[in-house]
Amino acid sequence: MSEKKPTLPGNEFLPSIVVDGLDRVFAPFNGPNTIGNSPIFWIAFLLVALVALAYPAVTTPFRVLNTTGYVVWIFLALSLTLIWGYTGIFSFGQTAFFGLGGYTFGVVAKNLVQVTGATNLALLAAVVLPAVFAVVVGYFMFYGRVSGVYVAIITLAVTLILELLFGRTAGPQYTIGAAELGGFNGMTNIPSLAFGIEPVLVELDPVPMYYFVVGLLIAGYLALRYVVNSNYGYVLIAVRENEARTEMFGYDIRKIKLQAFAIGGAMAGLSGALFASWNNFISPPVMGIVTAALPVIWVTVGGRQTILGAIFGALGLQFLDSELAAAGSEFSVVALGVILLGVILYFSDGVVPAIASRIEDRIGSSPDESVVLEESDA
């Protein structure tokens, strides 16, 4: 193995000090398991991050609020990318953890906000509880050697059962402390995110909330890139690619799947908690079959095996959905269906990988040049 630094694509356009700098800073996040490892990519990344930061200043409050909502759902899509795209566990019921996270946040926050005024613990609980639930469901499945489409049907059944159960909670007997679950109509008046403790409180109004979720997304994106390009990421991919082979290297497949599933559950829970706080509301249909299909569609359209695919898939389709609904035509839903079909037929690996390879062709880099073994540099 040569010591020579592999050539990063695109660096011929840049001064070498910039290339080296970007290379060094982003080395832990680079690797063949993610799209975009070149200095040019990272410059584009920084530019996009800047645009995202400047966005509230140049747009309307509605757009800020709405975009926050889109970003909140991205975490659900990312959870699916991790467990399905990278680990090969096809969950059709990530919304179970999303809904559980949302309701947990609602219940804890409504009670807590009267005491401390803040919702820190609620957010924590809304991540931990779904993760624990994911461990239970995952243990049940993976230690029973359930796999493939059977995982899809079990997870779907779990989310549908939760939808039914939460839909049944109308009435004062279903009140936990100060929080009324509200049945099918949903739980209302869920507090917005607020950090700190009385009297030092920061409540996240629309614009700060926007910055919070966008910041969280950037952090989450980098963290996921780090993970999937790390040793652990390779184990996940190895499980996806060939379970029998990976097991014969001494890896406990069941445990690895369980871990990934739990992390995915935590991320979906986070997504649900952010949703409930942003929306001040959550109701059982977020665990229904229509919502359950959403992340699968987003991730498939964007590109299952890339993090950017989940982000752009979720963002793009939510935006499209919203604009089509606003158009008010009865053909909106039909148009959405046609778009889905078109993407599946013409971009079998998803839109983002297709665009990425087109860009790569344009700037003339070959995929063989990207770095492979940089983890020991980190």
Partner: protein, 248 residues
């Protein structure tokens, strides 16, 4: 070339009355087998003799119907495959079982990172052993079939096993590749204090590497001995060539 056993002769692997039935078919029939530490031994036999089932039982992929497997004196009959690997058993699958979507170095990385040492150094070391140093950055589908087989052997030894099980390591290789594979296995056993059990059809290859040969037939141990002894045995010839021909 090595001859005789290098270890102290204590068995690294023992099976007692090992048995596996599928429905009515007995694929492995009360096999008692001892593999001395440090040996290279071969398992041969015509198609359907039970070799793959026997390997499946050793790795834990299959659960035996009866009997026990002991490894370094410990009963491992009930252990999961990954637990056996962690005790030092490694398998090279019969059919190619590499990660087809990944590059050579990434394929090696998955087993190498299980060990405490620096992963990159290990990858380079293993790549060097299996002659893939210059191809680390290539996608695996650009390798020749023989190179892919070597990669798989490399991956199997990357977890630093004491006992290496090789299921038809030379299938699909050219004559030259086969010969180099034999040398590789011998080098590994000699330099890394390993024991190897090989299922193989290619008799030239068996001649090249094996000290002891076990012939399986209809799930039972049919003959054991040196390759010369076994090759001369008319009964062995008979089961290979077909009953009447051998009997003529």
């Amino acid at each position: 070339m090595s001859s005789g056993t290098r270890g102290d002769g204590t068995p690294i692997l023992e099976t007692d009355g090992l048995q596996k039935t599928f429905g009515g078919l007995t694929a492995v029939d009360r096999v008692d087998y001892r593999l001395p530490r440090g040996d290279i031994q071969c398992l041969i036999g015509p198609n359907g003799a039970g070799k793959s089932t026997f390997f499946g039982l050793l790795t834990g992929k299959l659960r035996p119907t009866g009997g026990t497997i002991r490894y370094n004196g410990e009963d491992i009959t009930g252990l999961m495959p990954h637990e056996r690997v962690r005790r030092g058993i490694s398998l090279k699958f019969q059919t190619l079982n590499i990660y087809e979507e990944l590059r050579v170095s990434e394929n090696l990385r998955v087993p190498c990172q299980r060990r405490d040492e620096d992963t990159r150094t290990l990858i380079e070391e293993v790549a060097d052993l299996v002659d893939l140093t210059g191809k680390l950055d290539q996608p695996v589908d650009t390798l020749s079939y023989g190179e892919q087989q070597w990669l798989e052997i490399g991956m199997s030894i990357a977890v630093d096993p004491e006992l290496l099980l090789l299921d038809e390591p030379t299938a699909g290789m050219t004559v030259e590749e086969t010969e180099r594979t034999g040398e590789l296995i011998q080098t590994l056993v000699e330099t890394r204090d390993m024991t190897a059990l090989v299922v193989e059809h290619d008799i030239d290859f068996v001649r090249q590497i094996a000290e002891q040969v076990t012939v399986l037939h209809n799930g039972e141990v049919f003959r054991q001995g040196t390759i010369e002894d076994v090759a001369e045995d008319p009964e062995v010839k008979r089961i290979y060539l077909g009953e009447e021909y051998g009997g003529d």
